[in-house]
Symmetry: C2
Subunit: 424 residues, 2 copies
């Protein structure tokens, strides 16, 4: 099979006829498959459901002398704070342990900046003329939506294999209206890249015009290798402090993809001064988050070393799924020269760049054939991919046999969309 771009009109026509028949056959199967979201599979949920056996002995209800069943401990159980500090490499006093969703903690951080201002804010952001926000893209649609929902102007920053384009970031923060940036520093969503040491150093050393510029450091996949060994990663709180910017970063993490997506435990970490400030605001909103579930997680995960052992079991489930997708793309698409894709070793996504101007059409075709994918443009601010190229593949949910079918459909749709474009 030669590359589509090297084929003449006649060869393209005959390939188009062939691929159209393939597509019609796949469509006739009436599939109903989903590669839309980074949802763990039933196998992963079953893997950890022995955690429900915990919390049955009266001594389990007490942690550091605290009855975990009653009100109190706004910042979370000390034992849960220690556990997350161990995982993230920061200090327990820097950690606030919340409910089941780190997205909620991120939203609330932005929301409180908007309604009350952050520690270094001259005023609440709702009193600013304009707020702008840096969005490395492709990135996570839910991040972008949070800042969009507060009316911020989203500024696209190109992603490189080392992380956000730091020249662009450094130039952008000279504008005092630029208040922050979204980052998924390890196994970024969706590219799966790890920010380089140099990118991290330059981010921590930023000298933004806005005194309350905030790095939203969503370390969602901090221990989420599915191939190879655990990769050490710097504690961004310490790096920022060393660079003279201790209050510039809020780090987020959760056990959503360690234990249970709907019923895990989330946290944020920041300077102690930031934490004291945030606690004052959070204390008006809630007396305490669910400490029973925090304690259940402390008993189940114990510490970083023990948690990394569990992550190897998740990896044994996830690894084959990612290999299945990449293998299919290598086999079916690589020779055609119509797309390139990431080969991550961790995280939950594969990022594919289809031939410019064909992503939307390929995803339409997928949908018609019963395969639900992340919507086109979702990885860009305002849901608009200027090149109409990026497709986020989420292989975690379907069993391998379904995944094989789903990726076969995607490959055919990528071909068909490219052929339509080349023949147009």
């Amino acid at each position: 099979m030669s590359a589509y771009t090297e084929m003449n009109q006649e060869a393209l026509q005959s390939e188009y006829a062939r691929v159209s028949r393939e597509y019609a056959e796949l469509k006739a199967r009436g599939l109903k498959l989903n590669m839309a979201r980074g949802k763990p599979s039933k196998q992963q949920l079953d893997l950890v459901s022995d955690m429900f056996d915990l919390m049955q002995k009266p001594e389990d209800y007490v942690s550091d002398g605290i009855d975990v069943r009653n009100y109190g401990e706004l910042a979370g159980l000390p034992a849960a704070r220690r556990m997350f500090a161990d995982i993230l490499g920061c200090r327990p006093e820097q950690v606030f342990v919340g409910g089941n969703a780190s997205l909620q903690l991120m939203y609330d951080t932005i929301s409180k900046a908007y309604t009350h201002g952050l520690l270094r804010s001259p005023r609440p952001w709702c009193r600013e003329e304009k707020v702008k926000w840096l969005c490395p893209a492709p990135g996570y649609d839910r991040h972008f939506k949070v800042t969009e929902s507060f009316g911020f102007e989203l500024i696209t920053i190109a992603m490189t294999p080392d992380g956000p384009d730091m020249d662009a970031v450094e130039a952008a923060v000279a504008d005092p209206a630029v208040k922050g940036i979204w980052c998924v520093p390890k196994y970024s969503n969706p590219d799966g890249i790890i920010y380089s040491q140099e990118t991290i150093r330059r981010l921590a050393a930023l000298k933004p015009a806005a005194p309350d510029f905030t790095i939203m450091w969503d370390n969602a996949y901090c221990i989420h290798e599915f191939e190879g060994e655990y990769v050490e990663f710097p504690d961004m709180l310490a790096v920022c402090a060393q660079a003279g910017n201790p209050d510039m970063v809020f780090e987020f993490a959760s056990t959503s993809k360690v234990t249970l997506p709907g019923a895990g435990v989330s946290c944020f970490a920041c300077s102690e001064e930031n934490l004291a400030y945030m606690e004052k605001l959070l204390g008006v909103q809630i007396i305490s988050f669910d400490k029973v579930n925090q304690q259940r997680h402390v008993l189940y995960l114990k510490d970083k070393a023990h948690t990394l052992e569990l992550m190897k079991k998740h990896a044994a489930i996830l690894g084959p799924k990612f290999r299945c997708v990449v293998d299919a793309l290598d086999r079916e698409i690589a020779p055609l020269g119509i797309a390139n894709w990431s080969r991550p070793k961790g995280g939950y996504f594969i990022s594919l760049n289809a031939m410019t101007g064909t992503a939307k059409r390929a995803l339409e075709l997928c949908k018609e054939a019963g395969v639900t994918m992340t919507g086109d443009g979702a990885t860009f601010p305002y849901g608009k991919d200027p090149a109409d190229s990026n497709i986020r593949i989420a292989p975690s949910l379907p069993p391998v046999e379904e995944l094989e079918q789903a990726i076969a459909v995607l490959c055919v749709c990528l071909k068909l969309a490219a052929l339509e474009k080349l023949l147009a």
Copy 2:
């Protein structure tokens, strides 16, 4: 013992000497007792901790075909929505089931009104010149703090034995800056009164100048009788709808004092149109709340009838504590004519009105003697009780034997503060 107000100076002096000695003796005991917050006791927590035995069979993880362990179902498990609808007397489609804290849901409602506006808002409340809020007082300090934290002007509305002074409410809502009112309609915090049918009818029939005026109907104690039978209570959503104001009310409830204070399940209920609007905003903040805990509650509480059986067991623990407090007050304070207090049949508080100008001093004396009480003024907007009279007693946490000591201390402190005042 005759009333202090009828004693002459000499009798007061001798009583003062006697009570001072009593106080000194109590203080010397080095007590450490707490009647500050409406926290359930360890006995109540133990009563429900068999709920941790649930969620161990694979079939428990599935509810209406939904795997409760994964992401999804923003508005909560259908079964949890049905359960709360049964308890509140509304329809499941009107119910949103959240995390462990109804305070968080209330805060988020106000916060979203501030940042985005509610369904009927002409603009977000942060864009209003001024927002005013009605606070029936004595009331719940955490309610007042939420609206205070957003810079609203808090307007005190007098409480009557039938609920808020409705003449004052009706007059106040003619001001378009008045955007809402806090209500604890059944066993109000702290008075323990039940709003009368007439109060409810007049609230539902309000014709506020603000199109987005909102009744925050915190039905925190909807099934929380500790004496006598369960008291039926109208569904405020239906009453408002009948009065032509379907979107004027948000109702809140939780299992914090049914199962576990730190690890229960909360909900809000509102018109379906309101719910659709709120879901759009909430969907940016969170993918879904903890459905495993929702399912645990569905399996444990089952329905209203079964939950009411559990509440009788809580009543058996709480009832004697409330009687212990009221009996001590009847015995020690009633003859002196220096205070009056409520005799609630449900809820978590007793509201005591000390002699004008003595509450702060009495609470100071309590603290010095090792008894922590709700701070003076806490039951009024801005923490300021103009009469310096109201004291909120929370008898739920201490065991009866400790409670007897704590209330003995309070009685002596009430006497001492009154005597100091009468002798000044």
